[in-house]
Symmetry: C2
Subunit: 179 residues, 2 copies
Amino acid sequence: MRILGIDPGLRLTGFGVIDVQGSRLQYVSSGTIKVPTELGLEQRLRVILENIGEVIQATAPQVAAIEKVFVNANPHSTLLLGQARGAALCALALADLPVHEYTALQIKKTVTGQGHAAKEQIQLMVKHLLQLNGTPAPDAADALACAISHAQFAPVLRQLEQHAELTGARRIRGGRLIR
Amino acid sequence: MRILGIDPGLRLTGFGVIDVQGSRLQYVSSGTIKVPTELGLEQRLRVILENIGEVIQATAPQVAAIEKVFVNANPHSTLLLGQARGAALCALALADLPVHEYTALQIKKTVTGQGHAAKEQIQLMVKHLLQLNGTPAPDAADALACAISHAQFAPVLRQLEQHAELTGARRIRGGRLIR
């Protein structure tokens, strides 16, 4: 299974692609989409949409994982981040990728073992888990951490889905069964 | 000048297209994109992106106007609306349309003469200003009102731009000169 992780942002959007075979993780690609700040909002969103589209074309992932937005920041930032996230999600939808969402807490816990890890700890753990030679930039590391989180959660989700089929539950959202 | 107005929303996105010649307004098209609520978030955003793209292809507007989001609502709604707006803005950017933003207050003042008009008043004034036979649905009326607002503001913007060229100001954002 090839997973694309996305850490959306209006200025910097991180992406990271990994392969998973059983419990083995393999780094494929990662990077940061730097959005020119001098562009108008709609053109900045287009940069995100098109660049993620290019990453998908180049790496052919089967599934995507994206960080859930923490909405308690100031409302203006929430709106800007929401728009960037909307552009990123459009790119994933246009490629027909199933999308899974993870909170920052889930991601930090998965890769570092604790929910309040600093940026640097995530970078170091991602480097360690994927056996990288260099340390990925913060946004790329966050995107890779998101992909790693999905790699960990996917077997649990599959179990839930099998259970859902057996019990006739309708679908699964955010790891919960909806009957 | 043909103007596309957009009133973005994750459940209902309104659109309205008008032609402007001098002070004469001519209705072209309007409607509501109903986004199936049973879809996942990313597929709902895709519906918005692709449907606005189809409206643009069918009506060939030269410029777009979109309502500015009022961010004092609850942060969760702001995030959802931000994502819908991000998808709508992507559609406009992909078509290379210049995008202008107007606040709900500006739009209401422009079409009804007062900033605190009810939905029904906007619908009636849009019907009157565009000499329609029927009353457009609320979201379509808001989108048309947004397009009408740009029709009113565009001559002012043009004057500002000419002034900017004369005085060497760099660009115009939200009606203000940035030097």
